[in-house]
């Protein structure tokens, strides 16, 4: 298989770009914040059908929408609304959607302050919760997503339940996560390349030094691989592909974070540039849906299931 986009996919991406380009700039007032959710753009994408791509066309197209929107410094929630929810429920639900690990209900959850619906991973089953803004208390963080926790633990027993949907939720959560990392990483790398071409030291551009070039090439190759693995997982619908895409994406986050900030020099440890709007999204995704360690072991258990000791340890770890 290959990922030369078809004509229809090219057309979809190009139509999406024509909307996104008007929102490519971060509003001046938001520059020093940690995250910037653009509700207006979220509405435009929903109204123009980009969040229905998974049901109307297919998961690859929904993944493409996730990847392309993840390139923006502003946040729109396309991954869970446009890809995960439709693949798990097969129907539209009100977005934005937050994805929640049911074992950590009392912790802060990504996107909860902007969410209208939450999908809760209960292991076997999935609970679908309608979210009232009043029920959520925002939590401050440096991560480039809004985080919030429930003021009062929601009554999961009363929530709508999708029996046996847990596995599908984790699978598509991982595909979406990989797609989001791929898009954000590619954007952060492009942003950094622009910077190192302009910024001069010792009378020449920072980007003319091999020590910078070689690490940027590694970042680029990693992001490109993430992109293909995410699209492959969306295409095949195979849980091992989804897990590979997510664990591969998460594995490279530390290096991306370190190198891309490093190449911005002193500016890299300030909020005077946009880098953190992508990289601190990636960082948040690094630990989600199991994280590198657990996803890695899950792949191993799927591929080499006859390892009783490991399987037992996994079960005990829950």
């Amino acid at each position: 298989m290959d990922f030369q986009l078809s004509e229809d996919q090219e057309a979809l991406v190009s139509a999406l770009h024509s909307i996104l380009q008007d929102h490519a700039e971060l509003p001046q007032a938001e520059r020093f914040g940690y995250s910037c959710f653009n509700a207006e753009l979220q509405g435009i994408l929903a109204d123009s059908g980009f969040l229905s791509a998974a049901r109307e066309i297919g998961p690859i197209e929904a993944a493409l929408v996730t990847i392309e929107t993840a390139r923006l410094p502003v946040l729109v929630e396309t991954a869970a609304t446009g890809l995960v929810a439709p693949m798990v429920l097969g129907e539209a639900i009100e977005g934005p959607v937050a994805l929640i690990d049911g074992k950590a209900m009392d912790k802060a959850h990504r996107n909860l302050p902007i969410a209208r619906t939450a999908l809760v991973d209960l292991g076997e089953d999935v609970a679908v919760l309608a979210i009232e803004p009043a029920d959520v208390e925002p939590v401050e963080s440096v991560l480039a997503f809004p985080y919030g926790r429930f003021r009062k633990a929601p009554d999961l027993a009363k929530a709508r339940r999708l029996p046996g949907a847990g596995e599908a939720l984790r699978q598509w959560w991982r595909v979406a996560l990989a797609a989001e990392v791929a898009g954000a990483a590619q954007a952060a790398i492009a942003f950094t390349i622009d910077y190192v071409k302009q910024r001069e030291v010792f009378g020449r551009p920072v980007g003319s030094f091999q020590s910078v070039q070689h690490r940027l090439v590694q970042c680029h190759a990693h992001a490109q691989s993430c992109y293909y693995l995410a699209l492959r997982a969306a295409w095949s619908g195979d849980p091992v592909d989804a897990d590979c895409a997510a664990s591969f994406a998460q594995q490279g986050v530390q290096r991306l974070l370190f190198d891309l900030h490093q190449f911005h020099g002193g500016m890299g440890v300030t909020t005077e540039h946009l880098l953190h709007f992508w990289l601190y999204r990636i960082r948040a995704l690094q630990a989600e849906a199991g994280g590198v360690h657990r996803i890695g072991l899950e792949i191993a258990n799927r591929l080499w299931p006859d390892a009783p000791a490991a399987a037992q340890r996994m079960a005990q770890a829950g």
């Binding site: 298989m1 290959d2 990922f3 030369q4 390349i193 190192v196 071409k197 010792f202 009378g203 020449r204 551009p205 980007g207 003319s208 030094f209 091999q210 910078v212 070039q213 070689h214 940027l216 090439v217 590694q218 680029h220 190759a221 490109q224 691989s225 293909y228 693995l229 492959r232 592909d241 590979c244 664990s247 591969f248 594995q251 360690h293 890695g296 072991l297 792949i299 191993a300 591929l303 080499w304 390892a307 009783p308 000791a309 490991a310 340890r313």
Partner: protein, 407 residues
């Protein structure tokens, strides 16, 4: 690409059946630790068998005795060869890929008629005389000199890293014919007879113990002017044709062989671990296996993109460089995991599988040999320079002469 390959399922079945019927089941047993002459004899026998089956020269045009397969057919063929664990035809690599890639584009009709049919008989082995002690990744700084005296060129200099030169009949040689011209402008490209007076070989012993490479010393070697390929002083452009003659199929074969070889890693992981139980039950080992597995998937997708570009005739960017880095570093980590799994016992000297893949299960030799892959064909550092400058459009590195001026 998927659709093109799907349409070739009957062809795939044909190839698979042919390999099942013709590949000697015990070839690995026989080639394990085989002496050089037996290895060469088997390479020749297998190549001739492939030719008889119609698969020996899949990419050669029919008029020159090849199969004239479509690019998609070649993809299928190489996948099947790799999956069947057939021998790598390393003895014929230069003859089968570089020779036609060069002669069909730049050679004279006489040169083609003299050499192309001979290659396909299996009798004519070729080697490459590009690298020099002071011209490796920086090939254009080569110094071997060829001076024209009437209708011969007299060559003096030294070549190195020439694989299989000790078996070769002819050499694709680059030499400087105009020392006054700019680096790439004064180079010419020759066919050199390895039996010509003045050609001396010295094998280079590798740290694995084997000797695939040679130094070639050239002392007043006379090459007839009719053996010049392409224009005099125009050899650099000819060399580009040589080097671009593979179009991603070699790395496809290597990638598929690695996927097959992964089974051997899993087998090695069945061994008992130091703390009891099997190695594969250990979380750390499982994660390292998964890391390799996921990277192999990514590699295959990168290769597929390259093959699709080649198939559609789209202009290639820096993908070959990215893939070269990716493959060679993955191979290093793959074989390093093999060494870990093999423990100390895996580090005793063992017989080497001649003509085998880069993953033979003799992990210490595989690991040490993997180091050659991050260097040969343009080191990882050079590949990164290429991607940085041509792919990411980063500014060129300052020339060494100017490097001291900034500080």
């Amino acid at each position: 690409m998927l659709d093109e390959l799907k349409a070739l399922e009957p062809f795939r079945a044909e190839v698979r059946a042919w390999l099942a019927a013709n590949l000697p089941a015990d070839w690995q047993q026989k080639m394990l630790g085989a002496p050089e002459e037996e290895h060469v004899a088997f390479q020749k026998a297998w190549f001739r068998a492939m030719m008889a089956g119609g698969y020996g020269a899949p990419h050669w045009p029919k008029e020159w005795g090849g199969s004239g397969f479509s690019f998609a057919q070649q993809i299928v063929l190489y996948e099947e060869i790799a999956r069947a664990g057939a021998p790598r035809l390393i003895l014929y690599f230069i003859a089968l890929h570089h020779v036609p890639g060069t002669l069909l584009e730049w050679g004279t009709q006489a040169q083609r008629e003299r050499h192309l049919p001979a290659v396909l008989t299996g009798n004519e082995i070729w080697c490459q005389g590009f690298s020099e002690p002071n011209a490796g990744s920086d090939l254009a700084s080569l110094r071997t000199r060829a001076e024209r005296h009437g209708d011969v060129f007299v060559v003096n200099g030294q070549k190195t890293w020439s694989s299989n030169a000790h078996h070769a009949d002819f050499c694709l040689l680059l030499a400087r014919t105009d020392p006054a011209a700019a680096k790439t402008r004064g180079i010419s490209y020759f066919i050199m007879d390895m039996k010509a007076p003045g050609v001396t070989l010295r094998p280079i012993k590798q740290m694995t113990g084997a000797s695939h490479f040679n130094e070639i010393f050239l002392d007043d070697v006379e090459i007839p002017a009719e053996n010049l390929i392409g224009p005099e002083h125009g050899g650099w452009a000819v060399a580009q044709s040589t080097l671009s003659s593979e179009r991603g199929l070699s790395v496809l074969e290597l990638t598929e062989r690695m996927r097959v070889g992964f089974r051997m890693l899993l087998e090695s992981a069945q061994a008992e671990g130091p703390a009891g139980g099997r190695l594969i039950d250990d979380d750390e080992i499982r994660r390292r296996l998964v890391d390799i597995y996921a990277r192999m998937q990514a590699l295959r997708l990168l290769v597929n993109e390259l093959l699709t570009q080649a198939m559609r005739g789209t202009k290639q960017g820096t993908e070959p460089s990215i893939i070269k880095i990716y493959y060679s570093e993955l191979l290093r980590d793959f074989t390093a995991l093999g060494v870990t799994l093999g423990g100390v016992a895996g580090q005793y000297l063992q017989p080497v599988l001649m003509g085998g893949a880069n993953e033979t299960g003799y992990w210490m030799q595989d690991y040490l040999y993997s180091w050659a892959w991050t260097i040969s064909g343009g080191s990882s550092e050079i590949q990164r320079n290429i991607v940085a400058e041509r792919g990411l459009k980063l500014p060129r590195e300052p020339q060494p002469a100017a490097a001291g001026q900034g500080g």
